[in-house]
Symmetry: C2
Subunit: 189 residues, 2 copies
DNA sequence: ACATCTACCTAAATCCTTTAGGCAAAAGTG
DNA sequence: CACTTTTGCCTAAAGGATTTAGGTAGATGT
C-alpha cells in the first residue's frame, strides 16, 4: 500500500489550507484525514492531538506573517513603512482568513514567546524609528498599532462595513493617514 | 420528577456564564445539560442546535455591551465620553472574557443588522459629536475606534502585554490620550 | 374535570477524538 | 546485499458531542 508521505509540516500546511477554506474553528483531524485519504489515527503520529494541530497552524501563520512583514518593510521608512506593514496584515487576512484567525489563537506564554509574534512586534517597533517617539511612548504606540491592525482587519472581515459607505478601502487609507499623523504629533503626557 | 424550569433565555444566560468559565469556543450543549442536570436532548427544545446557542450568546453579549455603553456615555461628552466608552469595552472583556469573545462571533448579515451591534456603532458615532469631524471622516473615525477597542482589548486579553513594561493600564490611558488628540486634529485628506 | 401544552424523557444514529497495538515499507548498518 | 531499526500507516475500540424521533408526565387554561 502506497504511503501518503505525511509529516508534521505537511499536515500543518494542509491544516492551514483547510482553515482558509472552512474556518479555523472548523479544522478537524478527521477532515484532514479524509483529504489525505488516510485513516484518522495515522495523523496522530504527526500531531499530538487536535489542540496541538491548532497550535501548529497558529505558529505557521505567525511565521508567514512575520516573513511577509520583513519583506514589506525592507528598504522603507516613515509612513511608507507604516502603510506597508499595515497592508501586510490586511492582505494576509484577506488572502488567508483561516490562518489570520489562527495567528491570533491563544498560545501559552512559553509557546508565544518562541513564536514569530515577538518578531512582528519588533518590526512594528522598528518602523517607529521613523517617528520621534521616546520610551515609554514608543511601546505604547507599538501596542496601539498592534491593536488597530488586528482589530480593524477583524471587524472588516466579519463583514461589519460591507453594505455601508464609504467603502472600507477608503477608511483604511484614511485611518493610516490619521495614524501617521498621530505618530508625528504624539501628545505629551 | 421535578422540572428544571428551562427556557431559551435561561439556557442562553447559562451558556454565557459557561463561556466566561471555560471559553466561548468550549461551550457545548452537553456541558450545559450537565449543569442543569438534564438530558442533552431536553435542551434541543430551547435551542435549535449548537450554532444557534452560540448565536444567542453572542446576541446576549452584544445587548449587555450596548446597555453598558449607553449608561457610560449618558451625560458625558468629548474625551470623557470617549474614555467611558472605551472602558466599557475593556472592562466588559475583563469581567466576561467568554461573552466578549461571543460578542465578536460572526453573525450572518441579517442577524447582525438586528443585533445590538449597530446600536454600539451609533453610540461611537454619537461621542464623535464632541469633535469637529465631517463625513466621511466621522465614519472613518467610528470604524477606526471600533477596531482599536476590539483589537487592543483582544491583544491584551491574549496575554501579549503581560510580562513587559510599561504595564498595560498605562498604555491604555496613553492610547486614549492619543486617540483624543487624533480626533481633535484629524488630518485633512 | 378535561384537554392541551410544555418540559423533559429514552433511544438511536452519526461524527469527532484519542489510544493501543500491529505490519510493512523505507532507511541506516555491517 | 542481508539485517535491523525506524517510520508511516493500518485496524480496532472506547468515549464524547450532536442531533432527531417519538413518548410521557406535570403545568396550565377552560
Amino acid at each position: 500500500m502506497a504511503r501518503a508521505g505525511l509529516n508534521t509540516r505537511r499536515v500543518t500546511e494542509a491544516g492551514a489550507a483547510l482553515a482558509d477554506e472552512v474556518g479555523f474553528d472548523r479544522v478537524t483531524v478527521s477532515e484532514l484525514a479524509r483529504r489525505f485519504d488516510v485513516r484518522v489515527a495515522s495523523l496522530y503520529s504527526h500531531v499530538r492531538n487536535s489542540e496541538d494541530l491548532k497550535v501548529r497552524i497558529a505558529l505557521f501563520a505567525l511565521e508567514e506573517l512575520a516573513d511577509r512583514a520583513a519583506d514589506a518593510i525592507a528598504g522603507r521608512s516613515g509612513k511608507e513603512a507604516l502603510v506597508a506593514l499595515a497592508d501586510v496584515h490586511r492582505d494576509y487576512a484577506r488572502a488567508h482568513p483561516g490562518r489570520h484567525t489562527a495567528a491570533r489563537y491563544r498560545l501559552d506564554p512559553e509557546t508565544a514567546a518562541r513564536s514569530a509574534g515577538p518578531r512582528i512586534s519588533q518590526m512594528t517597533r522598528a518602523i517607529l524609528r521613523g517617528y520621534e517617539l521616546e520610551e515609554p511612548d514608543r511601546t505604547h504606540a507599538v501596542r496601539l498599532l498592534g491593536g488597530v491592525f488586528h482589530g480593524y482587519v477583524d471587524l472588516e472581515m466579519s463583514g461589519g462595513f460591507d453594505h455601508s459607505s464609504p467603502d472600507s478601502d477608503q477608511t483604511w487609507v484614511r485611518s493610516l493617514d490619521a495614524l501617521d499623523s498621530l505618530l508625528r504629533h504624539w501628545p505629551a503626557p
